[in-house]
C-alpha cells in the first residue's frame, strides 16, 4: 500500500544560539520522527542547568552529581560542558531573587562574564522569576553578553518590553512564554515582533508540566503549535523549549522515590516532549541527559 506522506506548506524557523561554537535549533519541515516525513536539519538539543547559587531545594540524589561545583557556577558550567557533554548551558540567576540573596544585576553580570570566558558551549540565561528584578538584572546581563548571541528569558505577556528591547540591542534571542494558552502565545509573539524583534530569534515556551503534573496539557499545546507553524502560521512557527529538570525535580516522586526514580521521571518527561516537537530540553541529572541524548540519536537515525 502506498504510504501517505504529509507535505507541509511552511517550515519552523531556524534559530542560531551562541558565538564561539554556535548551534542551530529548529528548521523542521515536518513532524519529528515520522519516517519519511521528518525533515529535521537540526536534532533536538539538550541544555543543563547551572545556578549562580547552590540550589538548596534539590534532593541529594541530584546534588551529589555535581559535588563542590554547586558552590562555583564557573566550575559547574565547565563540568557540564566537559564531562557531561551538554549542548548548551542554561544559567539560572537564582541569586538575584529578592527572597534569596537579592544579588544585583552587576553581580549576576560578573558571573555571566566568567562563564562565557570559561566555556564555549552556547548559553541560555534566565532570571529568577521576579518580574521587576528580572527586568533590571536581565537588561544588564544582556548588555554584558553583547555579541555572544545567547538565548535570554523569559518574556511573558505582562512583562516582555524590557527584555525584548535588551535582547534587540544586544543581539540575543528570546524565550516567549504563555502558560498553556496557544492564543496568548501567538499574541505575545506578535507583540514582540511589533517591537521590530526578528521572528527568527524567538523560542516558544508553553510552560512545562512534569509527568503526572500536567504533561499532557503542554504536550497537546505544543503539538497544536507545531502543526499551526508548519501550516503557515508565522507567529507560531518557532522552535520550542521545555524546562524539564526544573519541573521533574520538584515532584515528590523524584524527591522521595527510589534512587533512579527521578532520573527515569526526567527521561520519560523529556521523551514525551521530544515527540511533541521540543527543540531544546533543559535538564538537570547527568544520567538523564546521557539517556535522552541516546534516545534522540535512536529516534533521529534509526
Amino acid at each position: 500500500m502506498e504510504r501517505l506522506i504529509e507535505k507541509w506548506q511552511d517550515k519552523i524557523s531556524e534559530v542560531v544560539i551562541g558565538a564561539k561554537k554556535p548551534i542551530k535549533i529548529g528548521g523542521e519541515t515536518g513532524i519529528y520522527f515520522i519516517d519519511g516525513e521528518d525533515k529535521c536539519p537540526n536534532p533536538p538539543s539538550v541544555a543543563m542547568e547551572v545556578w549562580d547559587m547552590e540550589p538548596e531545594a534539590w534532593p541529594e540524589t541530584l546534588k551529589s552529581n555535581f559535588g563542590s561545583t554547586l558552590k562555583d557556577p564557573v566550575e559547574w558550567a565547565k563540568l557540564c560542558a566537559d564531562k557531561f557533554s551538554t549542548d548548551l548551558i542554561c544559567l539560572r540567576l537564582a541569586s538575584t531573587h529578592p527572597d534569596t540573596k537579592n544579588a544585583s544585576g552587576q553581580e549576576a553580570g560578573k558571573t555571566l562574564e566568567k562563564i562565557l570566558k570559561a566555556v564555549s558551549v552556547p548559553l541560555i540565561v534566565i532570571g529568577s522569576s521576579a518580574p521587576e528584578k528580572d527586568n533590571e538584572v536581565m537588561a544588564h546581563c544582556a548588555n554584558v553578553a553583547k555579541g555572544e548571541n545567547c538565548l535570554f528569558g523569559i518574556a511573558t505577556q505582562n512583562n516582555y518590553k524590557t527584555l525584548t528591547a535588551a535582547c534587540l540591542s544586544s543581539g540575543h534571542s528570546i524565550i516567549s512564554e504563555a502558560p498553556i494558552d496557544i492564543n496568548i502565545a501567538k499574541q505575545l509573539n506578535i507583540l514582540i515582533c511589533d517591537m521590530q524583534f526578528p521572528a527568527d530569534k524567538i523560542v516558544i515556551h508553553h510552560a512545562t508540566g512534569a509527568l503526572g503534573y500536567g504533561l499532557e496539557y503542554t504536550y497537546s499545546i505544543m503539538e497544536r503549535t507545531r502543526l499551526a507553524g508548519l501550516s503557515g502560521d508565522k507567529m507560531l512557527s518557532m522552535p520550542m523549549i521545555n524546562f524539564v529538570g526544573q519541573e521533574v525535580w520538584r515532584t515528590k516522586e523524584a524527591k522521595t522515590g527510589q534512587k533512579d526514580t527521578g532520573i527515569l521521571w526526567e527521561v520519560v518527561t523529556a521523551t514525551a516532549y521530544l515527540n511533541s516537537g521540543a527543540d531544546i530540553l533543559v535538564m538537570n541529572h547527568p544520567k538523564a541527559v546521557e539517556e535522552i541524548k541516546k534516545a534522540i540519536k535512536k529516534l533521529i537515525y534509526n
Binding site: N183, K186, Q187, I190, L191, D233, K234, M235
Partner: protein
C-alpha cells in the same frame, strides 16, 4: 484563502489609460499595492477596448514582472492572447478562464497541460449559465472530466459557479453557495472553488457595493470557498475575509488576528 487581485483590468479607466499611454508606473503601483494587501495572485486583463490585445497583454505582464514575480491569472477570451500570456509568466500561471463548452475545454485544457498552469473553469456553456445548482454541477462534472482527459490534477481546477449581479438575478446567490459546497464531492483530490466576487454587486447602488461584496464573501467562505478574484485593496473586505476564516478555524485566534494574518 487564495486571493486573486482584480485591479489590473482594462475595464478600469486608470488601467485602460495606462495601457493606451504605455505608462508602466501606474500598472506597477497597482501590482505592488495588491501584493502588499496580501493578494496571492494578480488577474491580468487588457479590457475590451484594446486595439491590439496580444501586444497589450505582453506589455502588461512584462511591466508587472519587472516589480514582482507573483502568480498571474491570464484573463482573456482569446486563445492567442492566452498563449502569449502563459508563455511569459515567471511563476506557475492560472488560466482565466475555461468553461464547459467542448471546444473551449479542448483549447484551454491543452494549454494548461502545455504550460503547467492551474485553470479556472466556469460552470457555463453555450446555453449560458444554469439557473440552479444542479445545472451548475452538471457542467462542473464536465470540467472535472476534462482534467482527467487532459492529465491535469483535479486540485489544479478552480471551479467558478458564476455569481450574477444580485440586482438582476437574485435567486442565483444561494445556488452558487450550494454549488461551492457540493463541488468538493466531485473528485479526489477535490477541485478548488473560486468566485469573481465583484460581479455580485455589479449595477447595485455605489453606496452598497462593498457591503454586498463582503457579505457574500463571508457566506461563501462559510460554504468552503477556496479562492476569490476580488479587490484586495478594499480593507473592510479583507478584514471580513480574515474574520470569516478565523471563525471557520482556518487561523488560530489571538487578539491581533488581523495583524497576524497580514504578517503571513
Amino acid at each position: 484563502m487564495f486571493i486573486i487581485g482584480e485591479r489590473i483590468n482594462g475595464m478600469f479607466k486608470d488601467v485602460a489609460k495606462a495601457i493606451k499611454e504605455k505608462d508602466k508606473a501606474v500598472i506597477q503601483a497597482l501590482a505592488l499595492k495588491q501584493v502588499s494587501c496580501k493578494a496571492n495572485a494578480l488577474d491580468v486583463n487588457v479590457g475590451p477596448a484594446s486595439a491590439n490585445p496580444k501586444e497589450a497583454m505582453e506589455w502588461l505582464i512584462k511591466a508587472i514582472q519587472e516589480v514582482t514575480d507573483i502568480t498571474l491569472a491570464i484573463d482573456t477570451t482569446k486563445q492567442d492572447v492566452m498563449e502569449t500570456g502563459l508563455s511569459l509568466c515567471k511563476a506557475k500561471p492560472i488560466i482565466n478562464s475555461a468553461n464547459a463548452n467542448e471546444e473551449k475545454m479542448k483549447n484551454l485544457f491543452s494549454l494548461a497541460k502545455k504550460y503547467n498552469a492551474s485553470i479556472i473553469g466556469l460552470t457555463m456553456d453555450k446555453a449560458g449559465i444554469p439557473k440552479d445548482s444542479e445545472g451548475r454541477m452538471e457542467l462542473a462534472m464536465k470540467l472535472v472530466a476534462a482534467c482527467v482527459e487532459y492529465g491535469i490534477d483535479t486540485s489544479e481546477l478552480y471551479l467558478d459557479a458564476v455569481i450574477l449581479p444580485v440586482n438582476v438575478a437574485q435567486p442565483h446567490a444561494k445556488e452558487v453557495l450550494k454549488t461551492i459546497r457540493d463541488s468538493k464531492m466531485l473528485a479526489d483530490p477535490a477541485p478548488k472553488t473560486v468566485l469573481g466576487l465583484s460581479n455580485v454587486s455589479q449595477g447595485s447602488s455605489m453606496q452598497y457595493k462593498n457591503l454586498i461584496n463582503r457579505t457574500f464573501l463571508t457566506m461563501a467562505i462559510a460554504n468552503g470557498l477556496d479562492a476569490a478574484i476580488m479587490d484586495a485593496t478594499d480593507k473592510e473586505l479583507m478584514d471580513s475575509l480574515i474574520t470569516a476564516e478565523l471563525l471557520m478555524e482556518k487561523q488560530l485566534y489571538c487578539d491581533s488576528y488581523l495583524e497576524a494574518y497580514r504578517k503571513k
